[in-house]
């Protein structure tokens, strides 16, 4: 019996720790180890629910074009990817692309226009239900006159045609095409590891790690093979930080601002910071009887000390936000200034609107009702929760009582989408394609993310005109005017645009992290011992 138990124990131990053995690293320096909180859910971005996956998939599959981070003065430009060259027809409604000669999948099968057409078909399939499929709404057809040529037809000309064509990567027809679209959500694509990008996914252990090795067959391969990279999944941010500090991992995305000084004290680690493409705001529900007044919202914005929030919560690694377009984007209105902090003006404005503390309890009242609002945020995001507490304290000073209510993400989203809230502290992640329609247009109250029910006919008209014009200079003028009007209305109190703070071990060389992605030039990274 004892021998049996011992055997069972050994068998159980072996069972628990069995697994494939990774190939040894190509160099003495070993692979670059990236610590990540998120896990890779699939290698098919069309069915993924993870933003992290979308970033990584671009290293496994080539897109048609490579988006550049030069969108400060104009819409982003593109370098050739799978497409070697392309031309627009005189009316701008037809884009003819020629694919790169000699491009092959990692199994040696040539990449052809059929792969591009297949990917376009899958992107539009309701059975696949890709959440990014709206980017293709103006593409009316994809034709393949020969193996190396793809023709995209558009319903109209507009500034983002190449960006929309380029949304998503290209998948292999000879592999993915074997799975009916209706089965995509049930299919384990990890079995189909045929890639075109600079990296191959060589080892994948869910919840543990995944390893990338250079793809020798990538048509865009540089002079040397990309350095091996291992992504280690560390779900707890505190554990991840300690691993960065003990040099077990080389790269950590999103260091909490309070820990930045601690990381900087380690001479072997560099803190890389660049603007994060998001802004944080307090959104006021315009259906609320007090908050529907523009003057009241302006008073609340005057009462909020954004600089104090930036200094206290972000330790200075953020700057006040000024409007609904992120300051890193070409359409940003550079004439806008942060809404001034002026509590006296806030009190005066509230008094003008008929608010007064009649019972001496420190809370203003109007028509017998106290000015008390519930402000939601998503629980677990320590920075947002701290921001909410500061907002609560600052508004209390002008007589507005805030009930702070952090909620679990799903509950929070349900409350927002159901418009069952007074106000919320929330972040807006902005795509590089500037379009204010889904957040600020009146139609987005019913069909979009205009959860605060903001409606201004002038803003609607400007947004529509910006979307209709063919030239981005014209669009910029309309968008700048729309931003000025929105800021004037203060449906949001725009709080801050923060920096993204990444930790990088100095043994990693050539890493150029930027506003587009931490792994923008991953294939160029190298490491020393």
């Amino acid at each position: 019996m004892r021998k049996f138990l011992l055997l069972m124990l050994i068998a159980g131990f072996w069972w628990g720790c069995r697994g494939e053995t990774t190939a040894p690293a190509a160099s003495k320096a070993g692979p670059i180890v990236v610590g990540t909180v998120g896990d890779l859910d699939t290698i098919n971005d069309f069915i993924s629910q993870s933003a992290f996956t979308a970033d990584l998939v671009k290293k496994l599959y080539l897109p048609l074009f490579k988006e550049q981070s030069d969108f400060q003065d104009h819409p982003p430009t593109f370098l050739p990817g799978l497409v070697e060259s392309g031309d627009f027809s005189p009316d701008g409604k037809i884009l003819t692309c020629r694919l790169r000669r000699g491009a092959v999948w990692s199994d040696g099968v040539p990449i052809t226009s059929a792969d591009v057409a297949f990917t376009a078909k899958s992107a539009a399939s309701p059975e696949v239900a890709w959440t990014g499929s709206d980017a293709k709404q103006f593409i009316t057809g994809v034709e393949t006159p020969d193996d190396a040529t793809v023709v995209f037809k558009f319903s109209r000309r507009y500034p983002y045609q190449i960006m929309d064509v380029n949304e998503g990567v290209i998948y292999p027809l000879h592999v993915y095409g074997k799975v009916p679209f209706s089965e995509w959500h049930k299919h384990d694509f990890s079995q189909d590891r045929v890639f075109s990008g600079p990296y191959l996914l060589t080892d994948w252990r869910r919840q543990e790690s995944y390893s990338l090795e250079g793809n020798e067959r990538c048509v865009l391969r540089g002079p040397s093979t990309p350095w091996p990279v291992v992504f280690r999944v560390v779900p707890d941010q505190t554990s991840l930080l300690t691993q960065l500090l003990s040099h077990t991992v080389d790269v950590m995305e999103v260091i909490p601002p309070r820990d930045v000084d601690r990381v900087k004290r380690d001479p072997r680690i560099e803190v890389v910071s660049y603007p994060d493409r998001q802004y944080v705001y307090v959104g006021w529900n315009l259906k609320h009887p007090f908050l529907k007044s523009r003057e009241v919202r302006r008073a609340l914005s005057h009462a909020i000390n954004v600089q104090e929030i930036v200094d206290t919560v972000w330790y200075g690694y953020a700057k006040p936000a000024t409007g609904p377009v992120h300051s890193s984007l070409w359409a940003y209105n550079r004439n806008l200034r942060p809404f001034p902090y002026d509590p006296d003006k806030a009190r005066a404005l509230l008094k003008e609107q008929g608010f007064a503390d009649t019972n001496g309890d420190g809370v203003l009242e109007k028509d017998g009702k106290p000015f008390e609002i519930e402000v939601l945020t998503n629980k677990g995001n320590a920075i947002r929760e701290a921001t909410l507490i500061l907002v609560q304290n600052q508004l209390a000073k002008v007589g507005v009582k805030v009930v702070a209510r952090p909620l679990e993400w799903n509950v929070f989203v349900q409350k927002l989408m159901g418009k069952e809230f007074d106000a919320c502290v929330q972040g807006m992640r902005v795509p590089t394609k500037v379009d204010l329609k889904d957040t600020w247009h009146t139609t987005a109250i019913e069909n979009g993310l205009n959860v605060i029910s903001y409606s201004n006919p002038k803003v609607d008209a400007l947004i529509d005109r910006a979307r209709a014009v063919e030239d981005y200079h014209e669009a910029k003028a309309f968008l700048e005017e729309a931003q000025a009007l929105i800021v004037d209305d203060q449906p949001f109190t725009f709080l801050y645009e923060n920096q993204r703070l990444n930790g990088l071990n100095r043994r990693v060389r050539n890493a150029k992290m930027n506003v587009l992605s931490t792994f923008f030039n991953l294939e160029d990274w190298t490491a020393t011992e």
Binding site: H187, V234, V430, D438
Partner: protein, 317 residues
């Protein structure tokens, strides 16, 4: 006995079905679903609706429930919404890893508890007993997440002798020795608070056995003290441990969640936790099925073991 066993198994199966049905309705009624994870201007409401249809979430709840019952009775646990893989294969991949951690922790917990309980019960000095009570009370009050971080701080970053996370080092995935090194800290994190609590039961039980008249008889016969303690006393004092052990069995699959997160241990607890956050209904139900089964099986097993060990209980049935 046979009838009793059949009745217990029947009741347990019914209970399991009711638990899973309740889980099904609770998670579907809870706010959010996989299409609602986005609050992104580039993901339209129409796109979210298409995703709901593709996942079959647009059907009435009664229809979804009927489909789930039929499929579960056929032994099909469905496909994870998040990982796009069969729930059964995901559980088969992660449960052994959780079992490895929890079984090691359980073995450590009971080993330490029995030794510590005996040690304390055989001390006569007040100071020794007082110290034991103080230390055990302190240890069983420690939250495991805190203990885990302290162990990492001391043994990984302070002394640098044990790895702080994961099941193995990069490139050493097949090495049992490497896995053993990674196992030590999470297993201790799980075992120490439990051992402190369990040892107090053992202490009390052993102390009572030592006071029994038959133990005095053994002493009067001048039998060696070691033989008295470990042959006669231990056997009787272990009885309550059987119940505790049976009740601890569910912990094998469900008790290691926080420890798995802190030590990045790729087990079932983390998988289930992530499933809840992402509203991965098939995976939540699959994990619930396994946990509930372990709870019910643990209870039945504890009853049976107790019956086997104590004839009075057996006869009472």
């Amino acid at each position: 006995m046979k009838r009793y066993l059949l009745r217990r198994l029947g009741v347990s199966a019914l209970l399991l079905f009711l638990i899973l049905t309740a889980t099904f309705f609770i998670i579907h009624v809870a706010p959010g679903d996989p299409s609602r994870l986005y609050l992104d201007p580039s993901v339209s409401l129409q796109a979210q609706a298409r995703l709901r249809t593709a996942l079959g979430l647009d059907k009435p709840l009664a229809v979804q429930y009927r489909q789930w019952v039929v499929q579960t009775l056929q032994g099909n646990l469905g496909v994870s919404f998040y990982y796009h893989r069969g729930v059964r294969s995901l559980l088969a991949e992660t449960v052994p890893k959780t079992l490895l951690l929890s079984a090691t922790a359980l073995a450590l917990e009971f080993g330490i508890a029995i030794l510590a309980g005996i040690f304390a019960a055989t001390r006569r000095g007040r100071a020794a007993r007082g110290a034991y009570h103080g230390v055990s009370l302190f240890l069983c009050s420690i939250p495991s997440f805190w203990l885990g971080l302290i162990l990492i701080l001391v043994f990984s970053y302070g002394l640098g002798i044990l790895p702080p996370s994961h099941m193995s080092d990069i490139g050493m995935e097949g090495s049992p020795w490497n896995v053993l090194r990674h196992l030590i800290l999470p297993a201790l994190t799980l075992a120490i608070p439990g051992a402190a609590a369990t040892s107090r039961f053992m202490f009390k039980s052993f102390e009572e056995v030592l006071r029994q008249p038959y133990m005095l008889t053994h002493t009067l016969y001048h039998l060696p003290r070691r033989e008295i303690l470990f042959t006669f006393a231990l056997k009787n004092a272990l009885l309550p441990m059987i119940t505790l052990f049976g009740l601890s069995l569910p912990f094998l699959v469900s008790g290691a969640l926080i420890t798995e997160v802190i030590f990045s241990w790729p087990g079932m607890g983390r998988l289930a936790y992530n499933a809840i956050l992402t509203r991965d209904y098939p995976l939540i139900i699959g994990a619930s099925l396994l946990s509930s089964f372990m709870v019910l099986a643990g209870n039945v097993l504890a009853d049976l073991l107790y019956g086997l060990a104590d004839p009075r209980i057996r006869h009472a049935r």
